[in-house]
């Protein structure tokens, strides 16, 4: 390994571009990129080291001489590429989510243990200034023990808004989709509401050093709104109640489709409370009684804007409140300095399990599901073949194996028609309409 400046490759030049731009800044060296859409490769030219590699085939890409790989391809399809990279001797930083099936979670953990490789989840929201401050305050003990916490990622997007950032609607990507088949596979159309929840839970895990142990979930499906949505995942939200490793309960909601937009985190503790200010995420609000408690009298409330604990000037201009800087910075430091990643493979799959089992709970009307501890091989063997997923298979085009919206089970929405066939017909109609508009 080139320890002075670790050599990094980036796979997936959609989201990957944001991370790619930080590699050199954080002390690494961008040496290779890969994306199946050739026109995207030119996005790396400005940042690439001399003699760097440009690939459209992943198997060729991971043979490039480099120390680590940033996996930033489709949201639901990171795990199999991460496993390949680990088996090729590369350290991996994976975008969220780590895995979208329990089988992939098992495969990922086994690959890390078998290869002894480095795996890090590149979840960025724990590393904003306010999230890092939550951790500092909580671990100081000033507020006692957490009993309840909330984390939410509210990001409402219209159907068109979603589709505008999916391929095919983008002019430059149309070259690969002229047969109309690929758009149906894009994960944003199939995103069951619990799956995009790492932004909601990860900052809470980071603040408290706790991990999820079980989950109950109810999904909100407003039928007339789901009908209008050209995505297939028509639920508006799927809030989860998550039992944590110390007995506390967290309320977590990812990818919510109501207004107004924003993230929010709060810790309700035995001796006080701390939270980010709603609508003003950089700010912290802390609330606690004084040292001579009088029931009902909350003496002290503080509101302030914390700074980053380190590298503030570099982080401030990075995306996602500075989180994008820190995930790349931490990956570089892991390779160069041997720093242990906080979101290692076990925490990473715990987040994925929460999402997967949370969705099972939503489909079952709120039944509580325990999250298996995949540190144990005895647990892994139970889940190694569990491939149920609400996403179609990106490689084979096979349809999903579970609904992505609770409307599909709460109503007989499609009647006798195969839902996947109905979806395909709908996408074909949209493609035809868009073709006419372009002409």
């Amino acid at each position: 390994m080139s320890t002075d400046r670790p050599r990094i490759g980036v796979f997936g030049l959609g989201r990957g571009c944001d991370l790619m731009r930080k590699v050199n800044l954080c002390g690494g060296q961008l040496v290779a990129v890969c994306d199946r859409i050739p026109s995207k490769l030119s996005r790396a030219e400005e940042y690439m080291a001399p003699g760097g590699g440009y690939y459209v085939d992943f198997d060729e890409f991971i043979q490039h001489d480099m120390d680590g790989v940033i996996i930033a391809n489709y949201f639901n399809d990171h795990a199999r590429f991460a496993v390949k990279a680990l088996e090729a001797g590369k350290a991996v930083m994976s975008e969220c989510t780590a895995a979208s099936t329990m089988a992939d979670c098992v495969a990922l953990v086994r690959a890390v243990e078998k290869t002894g490789g480095i795996y890090m989840l590149g979840e960025n929201y724990p590393f904003t200034a306010s999230s890092q401050e939550l951790r500092r305050i909580y671990l100081s003990g000033r507020l006692g023990k957490v009993v309840f916490a909330e984390g939410e990622y509210v990001h409402p997007m219209s159907s068109n808004g979603i589709l505008n950032i999916a391929p095919w609607m983008n002019e430059k990507d149309r070259e690969l989709y002229d047969n109309g088949a690929a758009p149906i596979l894009h994960w944003r159309r199939w995103l069951a509401r619990t799956y995009y929840s790492t932004h909601a839970m990860a900052p809470l895990m980071y603040a408290t050093d706790l991990e999820p142990r079980d989950v109950s979930c109810l999904a909100a499906c407003i039928e007339e709104e789901a009908e209008k949505d050209s995505r297939f995942a028509g639920d508006g939200a799927a809030p989860m109640l998550v039992g944590m490793s110390d007995g506390s309960v967290f309320r977590v909601a990812g990818s919510c489709n109501f207004g107004p937009a924003g993230t929010w985190y709060r810790l309700a503790c035995t001796k006080g409370g701390v939270e980010t200010v709603r609508g003003n995420r950089p700010m912290i609000r802390m609330n606690f009684p004084d040292d001579r408690p009088t029931p009902g009298v909350t003496v002290t409330e503080q509101c302030y804007t914390p700074d980053f604990p380190e590298a503030a000037e570099l982080a401030k201009n990075a995306g996602h409140g500075g989180g994008d800087f820190f995930v790349v910075y931490n990956f570089i430091r892991t390779l160069r300095d041997g720093m242990k990643p906080y979101f290692d493979v076990y925490k990473a799959v715990a987040l994925s399990e929460m999402a997967i089992m949370g969705w099972r709970s939503a489909l079952a009307g709120g039944v509580r599901f325990c999250l298996p501890d995949l540190r144990l091989e005895s647990e892994r063997v139970k889940w190694e073949n569990y491939t149920f997923t609400p996403f179609p298979n990106n490689e084979t085009g096979e349809p999903p194996t579970m609904p992505c919206c609770t409307r599909d089970i709460k109503t007989n929405y499609y009647g006798d028609i195969d839902p996947f066939e109905a979806y395909k017909a709908r996408v074909a109609a949209e493609a035809e309409k868009a073709e006419k508009e372009v002409k």
Binding site: G273, E275, P295
Partner: protein
Amino acid sequence: MADVIRLGFCGLKNRESTLKAAAAMGDRSVKVVACFDGCGERAGLFTELFPKAAVCADPEALAGAGIDAVVLGDCAGGTAKLACMFMEKGIPVLAGSLPAASLAEAVRLCRTAESTGTGYMFGSPVAFGPAVTEMKRIYDEGSLGKVIFAEGEYLADGSDSCAGRAPVFYGARALLPLLYITGEKPLRLVGRVSFNHMDPAAAGLTAPDSIPQILLETAGGAVFRVAASCNVYPRGTWFRIGAVKGGVETRRGGEDEVRLGYIKDDAVSTYAAAYGAAVARKYKAVDRALVPEILMLRYFTGWLRGQNGNDFDVYTAATVASVVLLGCMSGLDDGIVFPIPDFRIESIRRMYERDFRSPLPGENGYVNLPCRALPV
């Protein structure tokens, strides 16, 4: 209903503000004529405010004191027994928390209201505060679209004897505004409780509660989260509505302020909630803290006179009680999913008429359901 409604107060617990509001109402068509309270000390304020009113020896005496309607104070054992007694005597009831201490009591409450034809309203001044009123106005005008996710929290200070039972006692106050604003009906719920690390003696509390969180699904497809506790910070109430086109909520740390945002233009505004001009003008000289209580009394008496509807009827009360009771039970049983009974249907009521499980003390003081996770 008579031109002048003669009001009685039965149980003055947590009714100090209501008494002051009744005195400040300035409505000659409402007259406070009598009260009863099991704890004699509380009657002092009553006598001071209404020197010509009677202080009765027991509820039966109050019922016979010539009252046209009764206001029930909060009661550690729930208010259903007294509510039924007054309804059976033909006296309409404005009830405090908790409307029913068990599902069996909720059934009895509904049956009594139906069989007697006597009016019932579950009253909480929280539903009449300026922020909740403003949230309802905005929601009703339709600019936000339908609710997708809502939250209601009532984090009390633990200074009264209800502290150990806060999840049910104050949980009703956390839920009622959400139902009032949105008009939604709960269908099913799941509850979870936190392990309580708190040392109650060190915190000066009477008892630790189980800090349950309740998620419920509504008939319209929305999901609500409801919580009440005396053991977490910051104290206070918080209500938020996340809807298809935007959201509105009370500002955390500023309960009389409203934060409103729409998805379309991504702009969020925060402003002080205020009542409409007519209300503001009428009660300009009144202590702001009393206005929600006055509005609650006006709503009650207006309904008795047929001037307005009743969004807080006996079925709403029974539903609210069942949500908080079943939510606690669910939490104590690791998150079992419970359907919410439809108390309008007799065949469903029959399923619950013998369910006396309750974390509130019965007539002999015995509690048959824990209200905290620690011993479970």
